[in-house]
Subunit: 712 residues, 2 copies
């Protein structure tokens, strides 16, 4: 038995004992044993049963000691006066034993007393809390925050999926609001971040190795310049975890999703000739959208529908069928699914409603069971269908949309799906796909990510998510995909913060939204805060090249815009490039003496097109500038379309010369600026009227992605 | 001499002594005397010079005591080990004297030692910090935050203008992030908020009474259930405060501003017949805009310009002139101003640039001096001019804009001014006025507020502000005006946080932006976070009636919109009305059995217009519902224009019946929803496509105002 095996065996034995005794809380000794097994430092200690024993053992441990009651019935020991610190000698130890025992009885006369813990009292250090919890969506998480009452109130805590790499653990230390405290303030020495990160990583490994550890609190952990020691340990167990969701291999997912999303043959189950029927709208959209593959209407009686030969069952269709679009009542779905299985159709698009969303959970479960048995993947139910523009595919009853682009969008809600279609059309945003996920009985965001990851027609993925059916699977895939393509998520229901039963601090701190926030960040996913942000990011990210560094330069014709753009850069964690002297001098060549070089470069409002062009060319050609934010001010001297054309030319020339860097623009002025923005947008230069914030927010999203993916 | 006078005389004497001794820091005894004079509790204490004296005085004060070195050369006493706490008896007191004296010498061999402070050591309490600082914009401020190293890092602190009412001081206690700590957490008793608010108010009075107190730190203040005691007091003085800005009375401001904003006769100094000249554009805009008053071009030689009789000097014009628009080079401005003074023109609109904005501070100061001597108010210089639509007045060289509405806007930057014009035209937003303030050599936002306060054509005021020349004057007026009309401020330059020399904690915590934030909140001003927010608030607030209570109801045809709208409500501090059983039952009459009543009311997506109408009527007619947020989902059954018309009718009918409550709508769907939004906007129902956040943000702004003004 290897060392690691023997470590695990020891922990397993402790957990099995608790299980046998029907306990869901480990006692202090067992909890310490877990820490010992995983190399999580704890103070020297002993459990004693009498005052004499306390006095005897304290000497061996070394003074000062702290003494605490051990009782499964007293959770908050300090609040119950069952902790005495600064015990300095033998007599005091004996006294303290009596005092905490008495206090425990006073607090709860019926409390079971397992003894008194005599523990080495550590030197002062920074109190922090490290813990683990089991999230219903994401599974095992580790948590880190500063300790003490204050932080419990301020909830300055962060999370990661367990297990956690040391690098991630180190990042956790930096991302809490009070991070500066760990570096030492007001003459205090900083703590050892290595030791603390090490401890966090060990906690992550422990709960990952033993799923029955539901919650774990190391509170406080005393962090010093030398190390990190868990002073108090609580471990809560759950021996009946939720069943894992069945999950095909990535290869199988990809094979099925590819046939579904890029089919050569589509069957429409419940196709109809009757106008206004869903089965008719789907047929029309397939045909009118220009889908070039086979379209097979399925109808029990009809010979043909909209000029296409009709079959009574999908099993009657000659040749392969890649996807079946269901336009039949909920009650008939299971039967038709079995036929799809018999035919070897890998995917079914379940438009019908009448399932879990109206409380028909059993009917939905039955459909899922039939699908699994027949190896058919399900999209939906309760959806509008989906679009895949590069196949001219509109497998939906909604309005057709065929403008091609590189962004794939999904939505869990039909309303949001329609907003995507409308916004795309209005903003002339090309898409690669729009997918409705609805009830997500089967296909979840992670399946879509697996497909879009390798889809050459997709460079950006944007998802409206209400809940992830399997957050862990999502995180696994998103983490991988986000390294290659920006993934944007609008998590709706942020504020629901479902009341969750939690018996530990860590559990109580792990509200839905802060967990989503931390996990999405860990995955390198860009979180959109609003529907409009998601749509703007979807439109903008595909147009922006990846920046090669952090240096952002603002170039503006309006000082006022420069100030607002600077504010927006700060809000979006963008770095205004400190202006090198030589570059400053180069800009000053072009701008009036009272204009401001530095960053923002303020060319002033009265300048002709030549000044805009010269300074823009300078910025685009300068390797030290990694992204350009332009503030244009409508004047008679440089009218909007003149500006738009010169900027378009400048960027095209720079791209030709290999200088392709992100350029975004804020245009302020009279309504003519709207046409100038449209002109620029058509040339992949993000330009927005009447706002300084939007262009910078999209650039900020691109940077967030590029940093997480390791490009800057 | 009254008691109050004698109190002040005592403080004055201490300050005068410091001044005479050329000191800018009060010693501990003087600082304590200030506290005593204003009833700010401090612990019993004595200053001693020898170890024996320490032992003797400690007994009188009562043990335990804490002992601290007194030295003007040691600022952070704890860091220098010059503080010893828990001194329990005579021998310990003598020892402690020697120890802190030695530590002081070790820390700084040359430090001047004024003695050792022996101070009663207080029982544990919550450490907080109360202070005061002098802000360059707003003058005296009081500050409050939680004490300790942690909060110094987290900067959880809030501010108010001094003097501070007790009500404001109480509000400060509730608005810090860690407010819950003051109520007591984990078994700790809450602190006396009355005592703490009382102490804050006293600090506010002290610094208001004595402007030479530049900064003041009570750090820590120990707050307990019984009281609040300032344990350590630091007072920094500044005997050379900035000169106060001259400020006419409100009556004089109003008289001048009324003639300027609503003139009967306008002179154009530097009017020109030459196209492309500013003096020509201004003439054209005045004439083409339809101004019905007299327009007098002033030109040294011309007889007439654009058909209007020309005068060589404004003094030659027959009859009164209310405002003169300057279109002449900077160098000529002072001379022409003197003529305006001679003529009795109350206001000059200084379009010319070439002043402080390009470093010509002296020229600007000269112009201000001439204006003051001649009793002429100045708008600008370096501005586009201004618009006042209800007089058809376009006193600007920019494009004319004459759409009448009830919102007055101002901007400090020309770029933002043009964005206002463009957005207004594009969004069909009527305005009452658009004003450029530019360099603000004289007329500042407070002058505009004084005018718009009583302007019957203005119901909402929105201002883009880069800096306030006199923040105190602004706050005085804004506080009054915001009780009557919503005032929106976009403070640009939020993130500049100018490096300010500060020698106290309070001073260091008072960064520009957190001070603006606190003061604007104190004034009841709605802060816009972005240019687009300012513009949307300007458009929306004039359309929304004032809500009569906090109960917001969401009514939606798309479950997904309901979730996003709920998120947005939470983000905007709106209260989703808990649904009463009877009202729930009433809604259920109309919605499908699987639809969700409660709040949001989800009528589900497949419903016909009648369901929308019935449920909207129910909500509008229900007194317990104070504001309605509607989420519309584009379907074939209820198309966008059908929805828009039914909502328009329902709201019109409700208004007719006296049920005028705020209604905002989020429309999701294909591009047809844009026309539906336009239709609704024209009917003062705020409706936005492709966003759930924007309608709720505007409603949130209305609520923020209504709460601060006391309407809800």
């Amino acid at each position: 038995m290897s060392n690691e095996d023997s470590v695990r065996a020891g922990v397993r034995a402790a957990l099995d004992r608790a299980r046998a005794e029907n306990r869901t809380v480990l006692n202090a000794g067992e909890a310490k044993a877990l820490c010992d097994a995983y190399g999580i430092p704890t103070p020297a200690e002993a459990v004693v049963k009498t005052a004499d024993e306390a006095a005897a053992r304290a000497a061996g441990i070394g003074y000062p000691v702290v003494m605490k009651i051990l009782s499964p019935d007293i959770l908050h020991k300090t609040d119950a006066s069952c902790v005495i610190a600064n015990v300095e000698n033998q007599a005091a130890a004996a006294q303290a034993f009596d005092a905490v025992t008495a206090a425990a009885k006073a607090h709860n006369a019926g409390a079971r007393i397992d003894g008194v813990l005599v523990q080495r009292q550590l030197e002062a250090g920074q109190e922090v809390i490290v813990g683990a919890a089991t999230d219903p969506t994401f599974g095992k998480l580790v948590a880190f925050g500063l300790g003490g009452v204050l932080v419990e109130v301020l909830r300055d805590v962060t999370f990661r999926l367990a297990p956690t790499t040391r690098a991630d653990a180190l990042a956790m230390l930096d991302e809490i609001a009070g991070a500066a405290i760990l570096d030492g303030v007001r003459g205090q020495p900083g703590i050892s971040k290595d030791a603390l990160a090490d401890l966090i990583a060990k906690v992550g490994r422990l709960v990952d190795d033993f799923p029955e550890i539901a919650e774990l609190d190391l509170n406080p952990v005393l962090a010093t310049a030398e190390g990190a020691t868990a002073v108090d340990v609580r471990v809560l167990l759950n021996f009946t975890p939720a069943a894992a969701r069945p999950r095909p291999s990535q290869e199988r997912i990809l094979a099925a999703m590819t046939r579904i999303m890029q089919p050569n043959a589509v069957a429409v189950i419940g196709a109809s000739a009757g106008e206004g029927k869903i089965g008719n709208s789907v047929m029309r959209n397939l045909i009118d959208g220009g889908f070039e593959g086979a379209i097979h209407p399925i109808h029990p009686k009809a010979d043909e529908i909209l000029g296409r030969k009709c079959y009574a069952s999908v099993t009657d269709v000659p040749g392969d069928v890649d996807v079946a679009v269901f336009c039949i009542p909920a009650a008939l779905v299971a039967g038709a699914l079995a036929q799809c299985g018999a035919k070897g159709v890998p995917g079914a698009v379940l438009i019908p409603s009448g399932f879990a969303e109206i409380g028909e959970h059993e009917l939905q479960a039955e459909v899922v069971r039939v699908a699994r048995e027949n190896d058919v993947r399900l999209m939906g139910p309760n959806i509008y269908g989906f679009y895949y523009t590069h196949k001219n595919l509109c497998a939906t009853f909604c309005t057709p949309y065929t403008e091609r682009g590189e962004v794939a969008l999904s939505s869990q809600s039909g309303g949001v799906g329609m907003a995507i279609v409308g916004f795309s059309r209005s903003a002339k945003m090309g898409v690669s796909a729009i997918v409705g996920l609805g009830n997500k009985a089967d296909i979840d965001e992670d399946d879509l990510l697996t497909f879009f990851e390798q889809d050459p027609n997709t460079s950006v993925i944007a998802m409206h998510v209400e809940d992830l059916k399997d957050g862990r699977a999502f995180a696994d895939v998103a983490q991988r995909v986000a390294k290659k393509k920006p993934v944007v998520v609008l998590k709706a229901g942020r504020t629901s913060m479902g009341a969750r039963a939690a018996n530990s601090h860590t559990g109580a701190l792990a509200g839905d939204d802060r967990v989503y926030d931390a996990v999405l960040r860990q995955c390198g996913v860009i979180r959109a805060r609003s529907l409009n942000d998601m749509l703007e990011f979807a439109r903008g990210l595909q147009a922006l090249p990846t920046p090669k560094g952090e240096n952002v330069l603002i170039l503006t014709g309006a000082g006022g815009s420069g100030v607002l753009l600077s504010d927006a850069c700060a809000d979006n964690d963008l770095t205004l490039m400190p202006m090198p002297d030589d570059l400053d001098a180069a800009f000053r060549e072009y701008i009036p003496p009272f204009g401001a070089a530095g960053n923002p470069v303020d060319i002033t409002g009265g300048e002709p097109p030549a000044t805009y062009r010269a300074t823009i060319d300078l910025a685009l050609g300068e390797d030290r500038v990694h992204a350009l934010v332009i503030g244009y001010w409508h004047t008679i001297i440089t009218p909007p379309m003149v500006f738009a054309e010169l900027l378009g030319e400048a960027v095209a020339a720079a791209r030709q010369a290999g200088n392709d860097k992100p350029v975004v623009a804020s245009l302020v002025g009279d309504v003519e600026i709207e046409r100038a923005c449209d002109y620029l947008m058509e040339r992949n230069i993000l330009a927005y009227p009447y706002t300084a914030e939007k262009p910078v927010a999209v650039l900020g999203a691109k940077y967030r992605w590029a940093r997480a993916a390791g490009f800057v």
